[in-house]
């Protein structure tokens, strides 16, 4: 492992270290909300996915959604975390029109998941560990729409009551890149586990970033929390802005107020939302409408047994089982669907060749059209078919690239394309011999010169390829040329 230079903010008084902890809100993948049974779906008509419970009608009571609990347990197991067999729901009380009950049901004191750890890989392949403090389940609030009317605010309660997992890390990150790598790895994990779709654009995964700065080795500084940052790029930009702001204040002799700040992605700056003094007093207390959440250890074991292969394990296996490079394995495990696609195509084929097509040709085509592997217009079996044609010398790898283009264009199965377009490479010695003979007869000077300059054989190869439309079997052609030219 290479030694990495630590990330530092350069101030007037010297270098500053940035200390970062993240609270990631991941929407639990579920058809129904956490306590109401109402549907969940992005882009539905405003207020079309709201039950009387979500709308806080009198006498309505919450009932926990077992599936959401299972998803939180699954996330906890994926983070190698302690699963708390007894946890409690609390009410966080505050008034806002998008919070119909006047309180959010959350887990304040006793969350469902305790301490865990996530191994994060940086872009350069080095890794570091982030300790997870807890995961708790909570309800999302609705959405206030301020831009529908100049004077009025509209409220859409479709999100109200949707299940969120808040995944809280320890302040274990020291650079904007590491924070982004953490979110990326976490996103990858929750997608593997199927507990969150990780779609940051839809707000299904968003982060609050706790930022503080200190002189290297000094005790922790006062932190500010930046709310609701919803892309990897913004996370990094927000951290850089905020850390720099804090360094400037400290170097001017000031002190940092612990406060909640909002990231403005247009101006690329953070702004104060509320300070500690006027922070809400949320008056947390145990929700008397819900019993303690008690999990059956056998059920937790069942969930554990049903966990899919996780990214780290998959990477190691792809390398050992298929002999892939670390790079190819890394590309393939970025997404479970990608690795699945590869494995389906690689069955019984030259795995490196398959990885080559999956990680390069296909990946770049899909990325260009913003498609995932499970949406690929080319099924995995066709990649296998293409590689098989190469392996059996029916086509050359050069021709294969052309065949791939036609496959992408929807022209059919690789074998059909080769057949239809007559792309089968010429291994027929007789046909090649006559082409070579004709060539030597027409170019006696070149045939004589090649004896002194063997690399000039390339010219003959090129000419025969040209004559056969690129279909000559390169190995057969080479052997024949050498014999005929007396090399």
């Amino acid at each position: 492992m290479t030694t990495r230079a630590p990330f530092r903010i350069q101030g007037r008084t010297g270098e500053w270290e940035v200390v970062l902890g993240l609270e990631v809100h991941a929407q639990v993948a579920s058809k129904a909300k956490l306590f109401s049974g109402a549907g969940v779906g992005f882009g539905a008509e405003p207020n079309s996915q709201v039950s009387l419970i979500d709308a806080g009608f009198p006498g309505m009571l919450p009932v926990i959604n077992r599936h959401c609990v299972e998803q939180a347990v699954r996330a906890g197991l994926g983070l190698r975390a302690k699963i708390n067999l007894t946890s409690h729901f609390d009410r966080k009380n505050y008034f806002y029109p998008d919070l119909p009950q006047g309180y959010q049901i959350s887990q304040f004191k006793d969350p469902i998941v305790g301490e865990g750890v996530l191994t994060v890989e940086r872009n350069d392949g080095s890794t570091f560990e982030v300790r997870i403090e807890r995961i708790h389940l909570e309800q999302d609030a609705g959405k206030s729409l301020h831009d529908m009317d100049p004077n009025l605010t509209y409220v859409d309660l479709n999100r109200a009551g949707v299940a969120l997992m808040e995944i809280v890390s320890h302040p274990d990150m020291r650079s904007p890149e590491d924070a982004a790598a953490y979110v990326k790895t976490l996103r990858q994990l929750v997608r593997y586990l199927g507990v969150c779709d990780g779609d940051m654009e839809k707000g299904n995964l968003r982060a609050d970033v706790n930022v503080s700065v200190r002189k290297p080795g000094a005790p922790l500084g006062t932190r500010c929390e930046i709310k609701n940052v919803n892309s990897m790029r913004f996370i990094q930009a927000a951290i850089v802005y905020e850390a720099t702001r804090q360094v400037e204040i400290l170097e001017d002799g000031g002190s940092i107020d612990q406060e909640t700040r909002l990231f403005d992605s247009h101006k690329v700056e953070t702004r104060s939302m509320r300070s500690k003094e006027d922070a809400h007093d949320y008056r947390y207390f145990p929700d008397p409408d819900l019993l303690p959440l008690v999990l059956d250890p056998a059920w937790v074991k069942d969930i554990e047994a049903s966990l899919p292969e996780l990214p780290d394990a998959k990477r190691a296996r792809l390398q050992s089982q298929y002999g892939l490079s670390a790079y190819d394995a890394g590309v393939l495990i970025a997404d479970a669907a990608r690795a699945d696609y590869f494995e389906a195509a690689a069955k019984g084929r030259d795995a490196k060749l398959v990885a080559n097509y999956v990680c390069n040709e296909l990946l770049s085509k899909l990325s260009a059209q913003d498609l995932e592997f499970d949406q690929s217009p080319i099924p995995a079996e066709d990649i296998a078919g293409l590689v098989s044609l190469i392996e059996t010398s029916v086509i050359s790898s050069k021709i294969a690239k052309a065949v791939f283009e036609r496959m992408w264009a929807g022209e059919g199965k690789p074998a059909e394309i080769v057949e239809r377009e007559g792309l089968t490479q010429v291994s027929d010695v007789g046909a090649l011999e006559s082409a070579i003979d004709a060539l030597i007869a027409a170019n006696p000077d070149k045939a004589a010169a090649v004896k002194d300059k063997p690399q000039a054989i390339g010219w003959f190869v090129g000419q025969v390829m040209k004559a056969t439309g690129g279909k000559a079997n390169p190995a057969a052609l080479n052997d024949l040329l050498k014999a005929k030219l007396g090399l």
């Binding site: 009608f57 009198p58 009571l61 009932v63 008034f95 119909p100 006047g102």
Partner: protein, 491 residues
């Protein structure tokens, strides 16, 4: 036909079954009685005669087809705390003054499933906060009972004042009620009726406007012990829509009525002999003990040493939960909304205008005891007291099968007397709050009258889920007391 209204629920069901009268005839009698009496008693905040008569007709048709349910055709009053689909439900508050729920509470749905007929919605203290029915936005309820040679209007107690008054004045066969700190039992004691708060979780809270979720429990107020048992059998159910609902079989509670209580051990808690307990109440208590002894019970003294902390703990826990439960009344989606220049002003104006002074007092107390810096000193300590009180009962119930106490420290008091003294008002609940804190069943039955001729109640407290035993004991006492309370009609 007015004599029909004087029937017990059991008597009416027998008459209906025998075809002596129809549900329609019976309901008509109640509709007329309500119309005549309600201006004086104010027990109903909303009478629904057309719906009642239509429901009675439908009930008669079901009976004719041989599809009679256990409460088929019985006209009942419903405390306005229970949401009734398409029928205004206010919880006695201005803030819900025009709220018409699009759903039915589980308790009332169970009653309709069993064939009962709704006469209307009954008055109550606002959000069930009160012990005299004087905090209702719809005005106080009059107790049908008056002291001998007095014209003074007395309260029926609260918060289920409308339920108790209506049952006592024959304005329904029986009524639903709810009890958070004594709101079924104290009004029952004040009106010579029978009320039971079952074990927490017996009745679903779904569709019941919440006051303090960990304490609220529905139960009936009825004319006799057997009637109360019939009502509770219908009202109780396991309900997947209420996470605190008990998934446990509901027995036929009426089958316990009249059963032998021989050999049962009855505890008499010395800690309930509080200073200033009126001699008449102490005497009635002794009489109750004597009745049970005569029926073959063994009487034992028990200690419930944390009783004196119960009321303070209750007045922390209940307001704390209420302050959060009542946050949804914000003028945004239903109920009263007052205009304002900003969001905060709309909240403030709507809640200032929509809630009465007692509700505001409890919201403020509740918000205070939950706030940072006070939470441990008040709320957490109150929870500890709550556990001690539950432990007191657990220990006592190791020695005895049930506990006998007075229901209230006094008989019904005049309207207006305690309104300006909240602490005096809160003392009404001193014998009843403990069972709410411990989640235990508590039954109040009329034991006799005081010198002024006002009814007094005795309370039986049981182990969790032993309502059946309470019905057996209460029916023995009902018989022994030979007390058939009936107020003299002045309205």
């Amino acid at each position: 036909m007015s004599d029909l209204t004087q029937l017990t629920l059991k008597g009416a069901l027998e008459g209906l079954s025998a075809g002596t009268f129809s549900s329609h005839e019976l309901t008509e009698a109640f509709v007329a009685a309500i119309e005549a009496a309600n201006p004086a008693l104010n027990a109903y905040v909303l009478a629904t005669p057309e719906k009642a008569l239509a429901a009675a007709k439908a009930s008669d048709a079901r009976r004719a087809k041989g599809e009679a349910g256990p409460l088929e055709g019985a006209p009942l009053g419903i405390k306005d705390l229970f949401c009734t689909e398409g029928v205004r439900t206010t919880a006695g508050s201005k803030i819900l003054g025009s709220f018409v729920p699009p759903y039915e509470s589980t308790v009332t749905a169970n009653l309709w499933r069993d064939g009962a007929v709704m006469l209307g919605k009954l008055n109550m203290d606002e959000f069930a906060m009160g012990s005299s029915n004087e905090t209702s936005y719809f005005g106080p309820v009059a107790n049908p009972w008056r002291a001998k040679n007095s014209n003074q209007t007395l309260t029926p107690g609260g918060s289920s004042g409308g339920s108790a008054s209506a049952v006592a004045a024959d304005l329904c066969l029986a009524a639903t009620a709810s009890d958070t700190g004594g709101s079924i039992r104290q009004p029952a004691a004040f009106t010579g009726t029978v009320g039971i708060k079952p074990t927490y979780g017996r009745c679903s809270r779904f569709g019941m406007v919440a006051f303090a979720s960990s304490l609220d429990q529905a139960g009936p107020i009825a004319k006799t012990v057997e009637d109360a048992a019939l009502m509770l059998t219908s009202m109780a159910s396991h309900d997947a829509k209420d996470s605190t609902s008990l998934d446990i079989e509901i027995p036929d509670f009426a089958s316990f009525v009249g059963a032998s209580v021989k050999g049962m051990k009855i505890g008499v808690p010395e800690d309930y002999r509080i200073d200033g307990l009126p001699a008449e109440i102490a005497k009635l208590w002794d009489e109750g003990v004597a009745w049970l002894k005569a029926a073959g019970c063994e009487i034992k003294s028990v200690r419930l040493p944390h009783t004196r902390y119960a009321l303070p703990a209750y007045y922390i826990i209940a307001p704390a939960e209420a302050s959060s439960n009542l946050a949804r009344y914000d003028g945004m989606r239903f109920g009263l909304r007052e205009d304002g220049g900003s969001l905060s002003e709309v909240y403030e104006a709507s809640r200032a205008s929509g809630f009465g002074p007692e509700v505001k007092r409890r919201i403020l107390i509740g918000a205070y005891v939950l706030s940072a810096g006070y939470y441990d000193a008040y709320y957490v300590r109150a929870l500890k007291v709550r556990r001690r009180i539950a432990e007191d009962f657990t220990q006592a119930f190791a020695d005895v099968d049930a506990i006998l106490t007075p229901t209230t420290p006094s008989a019904a008091f005049p309207v207006g007397e305690k309104q300006s003294d909240p602490v005096a008002m809160y003392l009404n609940d001193i014998f009843t709050v403990t069972t709410n804190l411990a989640g235990l069943p508590g039954l109040s039955l009329p034991g006799g009258v005081d010198q002024r001729g006002l009814p007094l109640g005795l309370q039986l407290i049981g182990r969790p889920l032993e309502e059946g035993r309470l019905f057996s004991l209460a029916s023995v006492m009902e018989k022994a007391s030979d007390f058939r309370p009936r107020p003299e009609r002045w309205w």
